[in-house]
């Protein structure tokens, strides 16, 4: 294990970019689980699904980022439909087993998506081509892959746009409020169910772009959905449920930690980092860094 300050610095740098990426893929979950309190374990599965959709558009020659943007509206609609279904089936009926059933439902969706992807695309990895994938920016002795820079850039943009939307627009603020005080919202004339619907639609729409970023960062395979359950929930819990800006910070922490572990112990231990960090946070400070 050759340890040098240079290697460490490079790992940290890579970790920062990786962290931004992790924040981007967790934004949708931050809304769906952090704000709306939906046990949305299927979020990473939809993310991977989005990545594969980007791949398909890529085979037609469409640039991945453009593909992500094109996929956002249909994914937004998908989100609305999904929430509607979830609401009618689980939230409305209530009952003791609603929580178990909601969770079982979403895990069922995870299985179906993962196996569906295996049946459609096989277990081998799929990737995309783009001018910014494959080459690196060289600064002095350090090489920063362009694809990571792109991912980080998109991630930053997404986070800023979403945070602004949630704090500046009426619907956005209603979304932030609906998790905490439905009653007050109703008094203001807003329909909580419609607000949650839009929120979930946004969460899924963001996922489309995040999926594009996922396949830009590296080739994808169907089993990634379970790995990303660890990463996305780690980020959302570490940030603190309901904190958008916290998502960026938490993403950075995870990215840097994973990058350093990758450097020191190798790739097989990297998945354990996100899950381990998640368990640690839940044990020591379950409300996360910025949670309410």
């Amino acid at each position: 294990m050759a340890f040098s300050l240079d290697l460490l610095f490079e790992a940290v740098l890579f970790g920062v970019l990786l962290g931004g990426f992790y924040a981007a893929v967790s934004l949708g979950l931050s809304v769906a689980f952090g704000l709306l309190d939906i046990p949305y374990v299927a979020h990473p599965a939809i993310l991977v699904f989005g990545a594969y959709c980007t791949y398909l558009l890529g085979t037609a020659g469409i640039d991945p980022i453009l593909a992500g943007l094109l996929l956002t509206p249909p994914f937004f609609l998908l989100g609305i439909l999904l929430y509607r279904f979830y609401y009618e089936t689980f939230e409305r009926r209530g009952g003791a087993e609603a929580g178990v059933r909601g969770l079982a439902f979403f895990f069922g969706v995870v299985f179906i998506v993962e196996v569906g992807l295996i049946l459609a695309f096989g277990v081998d990895q799929r990737g995309v081509q783009a001018p910014y994938i494959g080459s690196s920016l060289e600064i002095g002795e350090f090489r920063i892959p362009y694809r990571m820079l792109t991912a980080f850039g998109v991630a930053l943009l997404l986070t800023v746009v979403l945070t602004l939307y949630l704090s500046r627009t009426f619907t956005g603020r209603a979304i932030k409020a609906v998790g905490q005080d439905e009653g007050a919202l109703r008094l203001m004339g807003a329909d909580p169910v419609r607000i949650k619907q839009i929120a979930f639609g946004i969460a899924t729409g963001v996922n489309a772009l995040a999926g594009a970023v996922l396949i830009i960062v590296g080739p994808v395979e169907p089993s990634l959905d379970r790995l990303y359950i660890g990463r996305t929930f780690c980020v959302v819990v570490l940030a603190g449920l309901g904190s958008m800006s916290g998502t960026l910070v938490a993403g950075l922490i995870l990215g840097i930690t994973e990058s350093i572990v990758l450097m020191m112990l190798g790739a097989s231990w990297a998945p354990a980092v996100s899950f381990g960090l998640l368990l640690l946070v839940l044990g020591i400070r379950p409300q996360g860094l910025f949670g309410r």
């Binding site: 003791a96 178990v100 079982a104 439902f105 179906i112 049946l119 819990v237 998945p271």
Partner: protein, 315 residues
């Protein structure tokens, strides 16, 4: 509605005797090969239901507990040449400890975090196994199993009989728990954890008991796997199919009652065995996944629930 103890154990005894007698008969070997899997699912589904159905905490890391049982059994066999019974007991023990640890870490928190922690355990365990040469690492291990004992014609027949005993035991344990003081408390905490606490129910303690027993039974169900396959490897041990099926069976059969997992396991397990010859294992998982979602949405009380409401409406 509850079956009296004598009725249940008489019935169970008859079933067990029949299964064991089968194992001594001249029936085609393949029946026992397939039957082992169905019986194993009875064990796994019953085990899952103790935590999932009775307490309402959903374990998505079933492959981790099953693999723990399998690998622990392997260690006993390879390291000490231990007989099958010892392997199973040790597998159950280690998996039970794992259940207790995961429970201690996460059962104080909301249900979803427990579930995610169980997913975490899969990854962590898989990493450990992959890096452990003694149990074969990534490429796995071939085993030569000893000859069958107790007068059975083949090792597979013996495993079938052993699994039959375990299935009856698992169902018996889950039935006992359901009707016990602990079962009453679990049901209360599943319906409302806060109200249960305020009614004097030590919710954390009960959840830990359920988690430990459930984990131990899952491990027991997985322990005979190395002997069954004469082979062990991470890819098949940590497979998705166990996760989906063990979840689907109690949900389809009926949560919260000991008979639900049995119905689900027998139905789904047999179906899978018949159909596996014709379709791929991925399609199998897809179908089970879809069935799971369909039942969760349309018939949340499972087949038992459907029977109950059909009985009620025909009165």
């Amino acid at each position: 509605m509850p079956l009296s103890n004598t009725r249940f154990w008489t019935g169970a005894g008859i079933v067990l005797a029949a299964l064991v007698a089968m194992a001594f008969s001249g029936i085609n070997e393949y029946v026992f090969f397939a039957g082992f899997v169905v019986l194993q699912f009875v064990v796994l589904a019953s085990a899952w239901n103790i935590l999932g159905g009775y307490a309402g905490y959903v374990n998505f890391g079933v492959p981790a507990f099953v693999a723990t049982g399998a690998y622990a059994a392997l260690v006993m066999f390879k390291g000490l040449g231990a007989p099958l019974v010892v392997q199973i007991v040790f597998g159950a023990f280690v998996a039970g400890v794992l259940g207790l640890l995961v429970g201690l870490l996460t059962l104080r928190l909301r249900g979803i975090f427990f579930s995610i922690a169980t997913v975490a355990v899969i990854f962590i365990l898989e990493t450990v196994v992959l890096n452990w040469r003694f149990v074969g690492g990534a490429s796995g291990l071939q085993l030569s199993r000893p000859g069958p004992s107790l007068g059975f014609e083949s090792y597979t027949r013996m495993l079938f009989a052993v699994m039959a005993v375990m299935a009856v035991a698992a169902v018996g344990i889950s039935r006992y728990l359901q009707h016990s003081h602990v079962g009453q408390g679990l049901r209360a905490l599943r319906d409302s954890e806060e109200a249960a606490e305020c009614s004097g129910v030590p919710t954390l303690r009960l959840k830990l008991i359920a988690c430990t027993v459930s984990g131990a039974l899952l491990g027991a169900g997985g322990a005979p796997m190395p002997m069954y396959l004469s082979f062990i490897e991470p890819a098949s041990s940590f497979n998705l199919s166990y996760a989906v099926s063990t979840l689907a069976m109690p949900i389809i059969g009926g949560l919260g009652h000991w008979a639900g997992p049995v119905i689900g396991a027998l139905l789904l397990g047999s179906l899978q065995q018949i159909v596996t010859v014709t379709i791929s294992s991925e399609l199998n998982v897809l179908v089970v996944g879809v069935l799971l979602v369909v039942f969760v949405v349309i018939a949340p009380e499972g087949i038992l629930g459907l029977v109950k409401s059909w009985k009620r409406s025909s009165k």
